[in-house]
């Protein structure tokens, strides 16, 4: 027992700065801690980590950090799904909520130095990957090719489009988009995200590369199948798992699956690890 144990459950007041709509039902919430030191300490987070957001009176929920530590601003991108996320959505700029974190292991970005990075995202699976992509671009010299495969149900549901347009322009970055249900203006590819892999002109980096896969369970299963078929090794595919969790620090037990507490042992796992967890993804 150390002399000064931190209260890991105690969130710190945060101020909502601005809310921008991202896609239907999903918005990006810019915020900062009330306390500057708190803000600085928090800002050392790693891509793939998450924070616990408190709306007192309603509850607390985990949210991955879409921003990169290299960016000046901190924000969450959140889909309205329950009472907590709705309560957050009711806040106006200047109003306060509370945050604690960062938690989780995050992506070991240093381990991928010298690799090609292949990002495969479905729908709001882009949220945790955004952080890695920005990080990779900011540490560009450490990585070779960067490929981004991104699919959504409709063109309106593609997130971070301004960012994607910008990333696309960087040297050595390839961006491939697809939707399931196109609208009249959609000129791009139509189909599930995995169908992008076999498009003419696309050559997915396999050797000496790491694939980041995030998205709904069905998409996840199909993409993994495709990647493995291409010759990917299970340990070179990484993802983040989402689980119902209350504490974020390995105590409440809700996110414990197989041999791991998602909140402390994850949320980032290689596919090799995920398989061993022995539970439905």
């Amino acid at each position: 027992m150390s002399a000064a144990t931190q209260n890991v459950y105690l969130p710190k007041p945060a101020v909502l700065e601005q809310v921008l709509p991202e896609i239907p039902e999903v918005k990006t919430y810019y915020w900062h801690f009330e306390d500057l030191e708190e803000q600085q300490a928090f800002h050392k987070f790693r891509p793939g980590q998450f924070a616990q957001i408190s709306l007192f009176g309603v509850g607390e929920f985990p949210a991955s950090l879409p921003s990169s530590p290299g960016e000046d601003e901190t924000f969450f991108t959140i889909r309205k799904v329950g009472s907590c996320t709705s309560a957050l959505d009711e806040l106006r700029p200047g109003q306060k909520f509370a945050v604690r974190g960062p938690y989780g292991n995050g992506f070991p970005m240093e381990d991928y130095y010298g690799h090609d990075l292949v990002f495969v995202a479905g729908g709001i699976g882009m949220i945790p990957l955004r952080s890695c992509i920005v990080y990779a671009l900011q540490h560009r010299k450490h990585y070779d090719r960067i490929q981004i495969f991104y699919g959504a149900k409709t063109p309106q549901e593609l997130m971070y489009m301004p960012n994607l347009r910008e990333w696309e322009k960087s040297a050595g970055v390839e961006c491939y988009l697809t939707v399931d249900r196109p609208d009249a203006n959609w000129k791009g590819h139509v189909g599930v995200v995995g169908s992008l892999f076999t498009q003419p002109g696309v050559s997915v980096a396999v050797d000496n590369s790491t694939a980041f896969v995030c998205g709904p369970p069905v998409m996840f299963r199909f993409v993994i199948r495709d990647l493995l078929a291409m010759g990917y090794e299970e340990r070179n595919i990484v993802s983040t798992l989402e689980r119902y969790m209350k504490c974020g620090v390995g105590k409440c037990g809700h996110c414990c699956i197989g041999m791991a507490y998602v909140c402390v042992d994850g949320p980032v796992f290689t596919y090799e690890q995920i398989k061993k967890l022995g539970e439905e993804i």
């Binding site: 027992m1 459950y9 509850g59 504490c247 809700h254 041999m259 539970e279």
Partner: protein
């Protein structure tokens, strides 16, 4: 280890001593019928303390990890948000805690205080808690038909993790200190030096007690650990177990080593909210349910599987350096469908035996 003896009539002097030192002393009392519980000792009930009785059902883990506990208060006024942690850590001694429950508290220590994050609420309560362990020696009253501490290797006499251990030798009690706080208590004049004879008597009683444990089916305990760790238990066995689970959560609530909780906010007044945590259970359908409609453990037998995996797998035993089952047998008594630990171990044994016969 220092061993001392004291007269049977002086045992409650330890309670008095602790109370004088400012401890809230929790001791076992009898309720109606066979019901027993730990309650605060007062002048009024001090003489009703029972030394030999069925181990209280409501586990003493709640003195370090309460059934419901306030974590913090948050106040909102004029656009400001003030968050205030609320700690409660009374100076307490549990008098007469059984060996299995001592092991349970040790397990909670490993879980809540180990690894990268330490739980400050637990820590504050635990630091102020003194454990006076009583060895189960009365086969009639102390040892229940569900007890299997022998198999879980936690009793009937705890080897460590208590502050003071008492054991009934007949006319006298033997006292052993496990920590400096316990040793300090031995300075009291009621204690005398023990002899070789006392030690021999102790050994003899413990040897004799071995024959009084009914739950021999748990003798397959470590084999069950192997089967669960290696994924050898079939889906069919888990289904059979699941079909008898009525999802009451009782097994986790009475378990001295179960740690899961949920957190909820309650409106105290217009601008004030309290955040509390309450015991939760992996047996319940909502335990892993996520907002947005995806439940990775929808089927009841998956949830049961989870509980036993968490308790019996090598991985978790190693992770905490302590097994999350202490052999108290409460889960066997509390279960509507009779799928407490001893039965599950037996079901695994039977299924494995059948599989091997084939």
């Amino acid at each position: 280890m220092k061993a001392r003896v004291l007269a049977k009539t002086d045992v409650l002097a330890i309670v008095d001593l602790l109370r004088k030192q400012g401890y809230e002393v929790l001791a076992p009392f009898c309720g109606r019928g066979r019901d027993t519980y730990f309650d605060t000792v007062t002048d009024a009930n001090r003489d009703r303390i029972q030394l030999h009785l069925p181990n209280p059902y409501y586990p003493p883990k709640r003195f370090v990890f309460p059934h419901i506990e306030r974590l913090m208060k948050a106040e909102r006024s004029n656009g400001d948000l003030r968050i205030e942690p609320t700690y409660e850590a009374p100076k307490r001694a549990i008098f007469g805690i059984r060996s299995c429950d001592v092991a349970g508290i040790y397990h909670l220590d490993r879980f809540f205080l180990g690894r990268e994050f330490s739980d400050i609420y637990y820590e504050k309560r635990r630091r102020n808690l003194l454990l006076v362990n009583l060895v189960c020696t009365d086969p009639e009253r102390d040892i229940g038909k569900e007890c299997f501490c022998m198999c879980a290797d936690t009793g009937p006499a705890a080897r460590d993790h208590f502050d003071l251990q008492l054991m009934d030798l007949g006319d006298e009690f033997m006292a052993v200190a496990g920590t400096p706080s316990g040793e300090a208590l031995l300075a009291n004049s009621a204690f005398r030096k023990g002899t070789e004879e006392h030690v021999a008597k102790r050994r003899q009683i413990l040897e004799h007690l071995r024959t009084h444990f009914e739950s021999t089916m748990t003798s397959w305990f470590s084999a069950a650990v192997r089967c669960v760790s290696q994924g050898k238990v079939t889906e069919k066995t888990w289904e059979e177990i699941g079909q008898r689970c009525l999802e009451c959560g009782g097994c986790t609530y009475v378990c001295p080593a179960c740690t899961c909780f949920t957190v909820t906010d309650r409106q105290v007044s217009a601008g004030e909210v309290e955040r509390v945590r309450v015991w939760d259970s992996c047996a319940l359908g909502g335990f892993t349910r996520m907002a947005g409609g995806f439940n990775p453990r929808r089927a009841v037998h998956d949830r049961r599987n989870r509980r036993f995996f968490r308790k019996l797998s090598h991985y978790f035993i190693q992770r905490e350096l302590s097994m999350a089952c202490v052999g108290c047998g409460r889960c066997a008594a509390v279960c509507h469908g009779d799928i407490g630990m001893p039965t599950v171990v037996e079901m695994i044994r039977r299924a494995t035996a059948q599989a091997e016969a084939r």
